[in-house]
Symmetry: C2
């Protein structure tokens, strides 16, 4: 054996077929639900110009967590740590050609140089869902209802998760009333974002360094009551106002929200998002008016944890439908021909190309998770029939070749 | 408007919904065909340890074309330029747990720092298809037949493409007979790989620098006749022996092949691959015997060119099925409720949230490519009926809400 280590790069994952099938089944459930809501998928390269993240956004993520390097031509490149700046760039580029509002989503990988730990990887997947071109109101309600609908599409119920809401506009107003100027207000919001993760004394001290006031005192407890009422009317009863919710990114301008798992074992944020009415306007491009937008992101690691803990993972099978066994090398050709016929009828067929005994082929089929087995020997070659064995029950049925695909596909 | 440029990073593409739907439809056709042949999808991160590409493989790609950088912890990282080393690493890592042979594929992005030009991007997609754990013979034939089947699945016929075959084993033997030692033989094969791209005089001079002999003179013209005969028997009649075909990578050990577009307008390699029996053995890992393998890759850019030129692109629609129009803000709530009902019956529903006039909403639906339109007004709210308009023909039908989804889905 050679010398090369077989581990992947630190903090990223290899997806063997069963793992990839499971993750793909989760993505497909998201895709189906999003398509039903009229959302269309877009994509972009993970390579972005570094300047995209340097103008506005969460400086912390860029300074400490981005993968940024120089290419061979001296261009500074960043592996996208999040999708929203890419979306804003793409929308700005075609603002005169696109039909607004846009209902768009994208599922892909994001990169952050973090210490790998439970729920945090250096490469992870996110679904980003955005409604672009509409001011707050109905658009915010749709995004919140859709976020809940995505979890419900897996069978989750309202007791499994809670939607926490706040408003950057209200927070900014509260900061102003507490006497915080714009830079201090920004620092305060960043501090508030960390509140749950740091000791209470540390939070208090840092707050006192900024103001003797408690800005949250100026936040109207009923400010989001009408949003909560409207959500209830749409069947979303598990949303609450959370005065200390801020979200990490500087670009939010209105609604901010996170969906939390209610399980004490996994008290994590599953989805997070908000309104960012000024981000698209940072890009050049003719054609006038600012483009308001609201959206959120769903991370794969925490979502998989949530679904796994609740036994809500969609079923995924990657194995073929039928294992065509062979009896000696002489029947391989017949197996290949038979496989060709069955494929055209919609079956996924695995053909044995090894010298394994028939018994070992059946074991191999079971190990691979293939549900049906049929051997091709002299008899089958001549009669154009197969004895199809259902491996779960060992029930075996002889049938004409033409009946095999309907039998298995309709089982 | 702001200052940030809207272009993507040089040499990569933005995929707006219609473009992404088209590319996804092509990938889905590949996936369906590969699944029918019993192949299972796997995936891995584009971030790989740089050393993976430094042991063996095409040095040129690594030295001149890779994206390699140091991460914040001083680890050297490469954005994978190709998938085979990753596959070999993953197989070696689980060699004791996996059931061989493996029929595996992966569809994802690859990165090469090249000068962007027609058919070449810095980020492109590839489908990599591999049959791992079987020696040459049936396995090589399956891979070649499958490669042809993938193009036929789009409706291509044998006159649209040609499969060019050669064998590294035969080429190595011919080099030996011509008196070339191993390093000189490698240089010769690399030169041969460039033969079609450089002037004949340059090739001749470079060959003379290595040997006064022509190694190809020692290549038996009939050496691959039995392979070609076996392929014909399987319905693959468009394969030819190409003595000067070598492929760029050093890791090939037996069969090498490329599929070329036969169109004089696009004389490009669509697929390329071969047998690499020693690559997996370069990795550490217990459990003994070498693992032979054969496979190939399909690039998205040249494949899309091939399909587009022949009008073989699969149909792709990203737009929703039905545009629910509203008559004033009062009917928005009813539209949202109606949309919810229709979604549960499988329809993709777009709901108007703007103040556009009904006429402008119809125009909007047409522009978005939504095939059906229905407005919700007072009458519809009370009667639970909709007047569903087929926008292509302007035909309008009144129907009960329960009939809308079947009407549109079965159209």
């Amino acid at each position: 054996m050679g010398e090369l280590p077989t581990e992947p790069y630190k903090g990223v994952r290899d997806f063997y077929p069963a793992d990839w099938a499971q993750l793909s089944a989760v993505f497909d459930r998201l895709r189906t639900t999003l398509a039903a809501w009229g959302y269309e998928e877009y994509a972009a390269s993970p390579l972005e110009r570094a300047e995209l993240y340097e103008s506005k956004g969460s400086e912390e993520i860029i300074r400490e967590q981005s993968y940024t390097f120089e290419d061979r031509g001296g261009r500074r490149v960043t592996l996208r740590p999040e999708m929203t700046p890419t979306l804003a760039r793409m929308v700005a580029a075609k603002r005169r050609l696109l039909s607004f509002p846009l209902r768009w989503f994208s599922i892909g990988n994001r990169f952050r140089y973090e210490r790998p730990q439970k729920g945090r990887m250096r490469e992870f997947f996110q679904a980003d869902i955005d409604l672009v071109g509409l001011a707050e109101g109905e658009a915010d309600l749709e995004i919140l209802t859709l976020a809940a609908a995505l979890l419900k599409a897996f069978g989750a119920t309202e007791k499994d998760f809670v939607i926490r809401l706040n408003s950057r506009a209200l927070l900014n107003e509260a900061c102003r009333e507490a006497g915080l100027k714009s830079e201090a207000a920004r620092s305060y919001l960043r501090l508030l974002d960390k509140k749950a993760k740091i000791p209470a004394s540390e939070f208090r001290e840092a707050q006192q360094a900024l103001t003797n006031n408690d800005p949250l005192r100026y936040l109207d407890e009923n400010a989001m009551a009408s949003t909560l009422t409207a959500l209830k009317k749409r069947g979303v009863g598990n949303a609450v106002f959370d005065p200390s919710l801020t979200r990490g990114f500087d670009y939010y301008t209105g609604l901010v929200f996170e969906i939390y798992d209610t399980s004490p074992q996994n008290p994590r944020s599953l989805f997070g998002g908000g309104r960012y009415d000024n981000l698209i306007g940072l890009f050049s491009g003719e054609g006038g008016a600012p483009i308001p937008a609201v959206g959120f992101a769903v991370g794969d690691v925490t979502l998989m944890d949530f679904l796994t803990a609740r036994d809500l993972l969609p079923k995924a099978r990657t194995a073929p439908d039928l294992y065509l066994g062979t009896v000696g090398a002489g029947s391989q050709e017949a197996a290949i021909e038979t496989g060709e016929v069955l494929r055209t009828r919609g079956l996924k067929v695995f053909i044995n190309l090894t010298e394994k005994s028939l018994g070992d082929q059946v074991k191999d089929a079971v190990k691979r998770g293939v549900p049906y087995f049929a051997a091709i020997g002299e008899e089958e070659k001549h009669s154009q029939t197969l004895r199809v064995k259902r491996l779960a029950s060992s029930e075996e049925r002889p049938m004409a070749l033409a009946d095999v695909a309907p039998y298995i596909l309709n089982a």
